[in-house]
């Protein structure tokens, strides 16, 4: 735990009578807590509830769910360990934290695979009941680490979760399995006590969740309270910890994951454009939640399709776009491979379309549940022929709403497919989001043509271009006189008729590129955090943004001449980026890939940029990044 500010008497944080504590409280500026257990232990739920309570307490929060690809790997095995890390603080934070202050493990496998994330001298809360000979063996332990002294560097708290849960439920008539499933609420009660979180929130949730099962509702509330009381009564825990509310911009907030953010962004864009929204996807980790989410929003007229494959998903979206709807397809990297030819068709037919790529570890099936940023070059270049399209990337869960909205706006304004990149850590991570007022969202103009008179007495020209955007008109199907044909064969500019003419092809290739280049008009000046000249510029895109902000802030506080710039549009790159880069002796590009933006930067600006690349399925660590920046600084 970082900086300890002061120790106070029992905290009066509005806990109801039943939850009054007599133990002293210490104040901390931020805490990173990690829950780990079997996939079936309710770890993600526990983490999410603790996050909500922290956000409601006014902390800034950032989360990182870390789960296995297997749905229910055999209980107790290393393969089945699911983790959830939460960073909550009394100041602005940008990452879920590298290492944790507190690790809560539900079994030996969870300890074995997560011990590496626990800070030196950190708190380890272990479900001691689960450290049986069988579980120890499955986790690869020869001796019980809780007993053999190997954990001497940490503060170990042994909690007999199973027994204590069972004790709390004696006489309620629950089966052994039902009792077992309550134990995550014991752990939650305990950490709610430890960090002075508002218990009512969990109790309300339990009331709602088990409304139709009164017995289980009572049981879970009982266990949750037992966990809280255990903290209060056991001698193991002597103090509670208080993380005060952060100074956050005023407004209305909610917790938002990246997948929720893009789904909401798509709906908002469709509403602001006055268009119907069509979304088609094929189930794929980690993008499926976007399909789940959008299929709920029927009151907004959203049509969703679970397609028979990735190609059908994108092609049906192209059909819907031809039908004058805002059309979107969402997937992860392997799906983008399959969609490549159809994306080319959308480029050729100049139809608005958004392709969401929630990146995951690759290549091939790779690491489906882990994060990576290795689809950048695929997004920009991965199609046959000269096939440019705008590419935008979200930097965080909260940013994903705005990027989704922006992707739709640009697609409609320029009549072009746009690829929107997020990644596994953004998709499943959550952070507080200041909810925009819908009246403040800009309207999205659409180039629909619904009247034959648009072309006067002349012929219908499906490829007649608007001067500034080079966009063609979006002819409204069903209009008498506007019948026209689109297709993937090269066409004459303006008329759209099939053409194999050599000079025309050259012209059309250049025109499609110029149209994408025109998107630079949409870009605000590149923001540089820190001075515009100095020793090192850290240049980020996508999810490493948070780690870069944190590392650069720290180094600047130490007086280092380090600045940070972040690019949201990857294609085309911001028009002022070259000038920004020129202000620094060194440019460092941190990426969760083997060096992709760096290739573009080096090729485009002839800058000798250096890469910092970690491809371990995890977000970039602030500590490692800080070291990498220091390496670039003059010694």
């Amino acid at each position: 735990m970082s900086e300890q500010l002061h120790t106070s008497a029992p905290a009066p944080h509005g806990a109801p009578i039943a939850f009054r504590s007599t133990k002293p409280s210490e104040t901390l500026t931020d805490v990173v807590i990690r829950f780990a257990g079997d996939s079936g232990d309710g770890i993600q739920l526990t983490g999410t509830q603790f996050t909500q309570a922290s956000a409601l307490a006014g902390n800034d929060t950032a989360t990182f769910p870390d789960f296995p690809a297997e749905i229910r790997a055999p209980a107790g095995t290393l393969a089945g360990v699911s983790g959830f890390q939460l960073h909550f603080a009394s100041s602005d934070i940008f990452t879920p934290g590298d290492l944790c202050d507190v690790l809560v493990v539900m079994n030996p496998a969870a300890l074995a695979s997560n011990q590496k994330w626990l800070k030196e001298h950190g708190m380890l809360i272990a479900n001691a009941d689960a450290f049986t000979a069988k579980n120890l063996k499955m986790a690869g332990y020869e001796r019980n680490p809780l007993d053999d002294g190997s954990l001497a560097d940490w503060q170990v708290f042994r909690v007999d979760l199973a027994r204590l849960t069972n004790d709390a439920l004696i006489g309620m008539g629950l089966s052994a399995k039902e009792v077992e499933r309550c134990k995550n609420y014991f752990a939650l009660g305990l950490v709610f006590w430890l960090y002075e979180r508002q218990p009512q929130l969990v109790e309300d949730d339990i009331e709602k969740k088990f409304a139709s099962k009164p017995l289980l509702k009572d049981a879970n509330i009982k266990v949750f309270r037992a966990g809280w009381d255990y903290g209060e009564n056991t001698d193991q825990f002597r103090v509670r910890y208080h993380v005060p509310a952060a100074k956050i911009a005023p407004g209305k907030y909610r917790s938002l994951t990246g997948n929720e953010g893009v789904a909401l962004g798509f709906v908002a864009a469709a509403q602001k454009a006055g268009l119907g929204l069509y979304y088609s996807g094929y189930p794929i980790t980690p993008a499926s939640d976007v399909l789940h989410q959008l299929s709920l929003y029927k009151e907004f007229g959203v049509r969703t399709m679970q397609a028979e494959d990735e190609i059908a998903a994108v092609c049906s979206a192209i059909g819907a776009s031809f039908g004058n709807w805002l059309a979107i397809t969402g997937t992860s990297g392997p799906g983008v491979c399959l969609k490549a030819e159809a994306i080319g068709l959308a480029v050729m037919t100049e139809l608005p379309l958004v392709i969401l790529d929630v990146q995951r570890g690759g290549p091939s099936t790779g690491l489906p549940t882990k994060t990576e940023q290795a689809d950048l070059l695929q997004a920009i270049y991965g199609r046959n022929g000269e096939c440019p399209l705008p590419v935008i990337a979200a930097r965080s869960p909260a940013d994903s709403f705005e990027c989704a909205f922006e992707a739709c706006r640009v697609a409609l304004k320029y009549m072009v497919p746009v690829i929107l990149l997020t990644d596994g850590s953004i998709a499943n991570g959550a952070e507080p989001w200041r909810i925009p007022n819908v009246d403040d969202l800009p309207p999205i103009p659409v180039r629909l043509v619904k009247d034959r008179a648009h072309f006067g007495d002349g012929p219908v020209l499906p490829y007649q271009r608007e001067a500034v955007t080079l966009a063609r008109p979006w002819l409204y199907l069903g209009t008498p006189g506007l019948e026209h044909r689109l297709g993937g064969i090269e066409k004459w500019d303006s008329t759209g008729h099939i053409s194999y003419d050599a000079a025309n092809h050259h012209h059309m290739v250049k025109t499609r590129q110029a149209k994408v280049d025109a998107v630079t008009q949409e870009m605000p000046p590149t923001e540089v955090i820190g001075d515009r000249t100095g020793d090192v510029l850290v240049l980020s895109w996508g999810s490493p943004w948070g780690a870069c902000v944190t590392a650069v802030q720290t180094l600047r506080a130490q007086g280092r001449a380090v600045s940070h710039a972040h690019v949201r549009w990857l294609n085309p790159l911001p028009p002022d980026l070259g000038a920004v880069l020129a202000g620094f002796r060194r440019v460092l590009v941190p990426e969760i890939n083997n060096g992709q933006l760096i290739k573009l930067v080096r090729a485009t600006y002839l800058v000798d940029a250096q890469g910092f690349n970690r491809i371990n399925g995890q977000p970039i660590s602030v500590a490692e990044l800080t070291d990498a920046i220091l390496d670039q600084l003059p010694h």
């Binding site: 909500q52 956000a55 409601l56 006014g58 956050i248 911009a249 005023p250 209305k252 907030y253 909610r254 938002l256 929720e260 909401l264 509403q271 119907g276 069509y278 088609s280 929003y297 029927k298 009151e299 907004f300 007229g301 959203v302 049509r303 399709m305 397609a307 028979e308 494959d309 059908a312 998903a313 092609c315 049906s316 192209i318 059909g319 819907a320 776009s321 031809f322 039908g323 059309a327 030819e341 080319g344 068709l345 037919t349 909810i435 925009p436 819908v438 199907l477 069903g478 008498p480 006189g481 506007l482 019948e483 026209h484 044909r485 689109l486 297709g487 993937g488 064969i489 008729h497 099939i498």
Partner: protein, 343 residues
């Protein structure tokens, strides 16, 4: 919902009202010319104006079809027309959607979309031009080429058993299945009219001649002198009689269709298999789809037309049902279920 009525008083359309200004670029003598003319005539008769129709295609000779139609048109990529057409139909139920495809386009590269189109029963009229060859890539065997066929890519003969397009469609739960011959204007008109009227996926296999790479592939059926004896014109509710002298028929012995001579061995029309195009159970229809020359006359006409839930209608009905009880409120959607306010 998807039964399209002309906007105003019925206008009498002519076939040329459905003909675009583009030069038709199929090879001279290609069966596609007849198909185009037959479709344009059927559409004129139907009376839905060109601007309320969209024609979608994949890739191949057949898939140039949309360019030649004066409707809205989309020339997609190889095999994907069913998916493109599905997305279009879901968001634009006001349009009548026709799809042109070929045996390579739909039965090979687009096989997956093809079967799922039938399973979903999207309200789309599918015209599959079956010439048993790849034409646009200049003469490779297709998934309907007969076993042993010698082509550029099978110089020693193919070693692949062909698909029967109609069997495949029935197996994929198609609600409407028909077959016609490119040069048979009358038979095509009937089938296209029935397809246009059907609500759901209407599948028409058109036996089409590629005079360049597979000339005469259907000559045993298409040639006037062969047609009566080698084909069986299906008529709902009628016994299956064929032959120039109308003296042959099909008798169903158990689940085995059998060719019989009317009048011989005491066989009368009353003994013949009576075609039921509206049989919910596709078992007998499937038997029909297996009948091939020379063992049998090849059935032509309407195999099957049954009513079952239509995908695009269900998608839109679900949305409309929710909209009747729930008003869209974007701010409330963005707010979600739990918010907090920072002052």
């Amino acid at each position: 919902m998807s039964t399209l009525a002309p906007e105003t008083a019925p206008i009498a359309y002519k076939a040329k009202d459905f003909s675009s200004d583009q030069d038709v670029r199929w090879c001279p003598g290609c069966g596609d010319y007849s198909i185009l003319a037959n479709v344009q005539r059927a559409l004129a008769k139907q009376g839905v104006p060109p601007h309320q129709i969209a024609t979608v295609a994949g890739i191949g000779c057949s898939s140039r079809f949309p360019y030649y139609m004066a409707t809205y048109g989309f020339h997609g990529i190889h095999g994907r027309a069913p998916a493109i057409a599905t997305g279009l139909k879901v968001v634009r139920p006001d349009l009548q959607v026709w799809m042109a495809t070929g045996d390579g386009d739909s039965l090979s590269i687009g096989g997956n979309h093809f079967i799922h189109l039938f399973r979903r029963n999207v309200d789309i009229k599918v015209l599959l031009f079956n010439n048993r060859i790849y034409g646009l890539t200049k003469g490779q065997y297709s998934p309907t080429s007969e076993l042993g066929k010698k082509t550029k890519s099978s110089p020693f003969g193919t070693v692949e058993t062909p698909f029967r397009a109609v069997s495949l469609a029935i197996g994929a739960e198609a609600s409407f299945v028909a077959r016609c011959i490119d040069v048979d204007a009358k038979g095509s008109a009937d089938v296209f009219a029935a397809a246009a009227a059907h609500v759901g996926t209407a599948f028409v296999e058109i036996l089409q001649n590629c005079n360049i790479f597979n000339d005469g592939a259907w000559e045993h059926l298409a040639a006037k002198e062969n047609r009566s004896d080698h084909t069986l014109m299906l008529e709902h509710g009628k016994p299956m009689v064929f032959g120039a002298a109308r003296d042959k028929g099909i008798k169903l012995v158990g689940l085995r269709p059998t060719v019989v001579k009317i009048g011989a061995d005491g066989v009368t029309e009353a003994d013949l298999w009576v075609h039921d195009a509206h049989d919910e159970d596709p078992t007998r229809t499937f038997l029909l789809s297996r009948m091939e020359w020379p063992e049998f006359p090849v059935p032509i006409g309407l195999f099957r037309a049954v009513t079952r839930p239509v995908y695009d209608q269900l998608v839109n009905a679900q949305v409309e049902a929710v909209q009747r009880t729930k008003k869209p409120d974007l701010q409330r959607l963005l707010d979600g279920s739990k918010t907090w306010t920072v002052a």
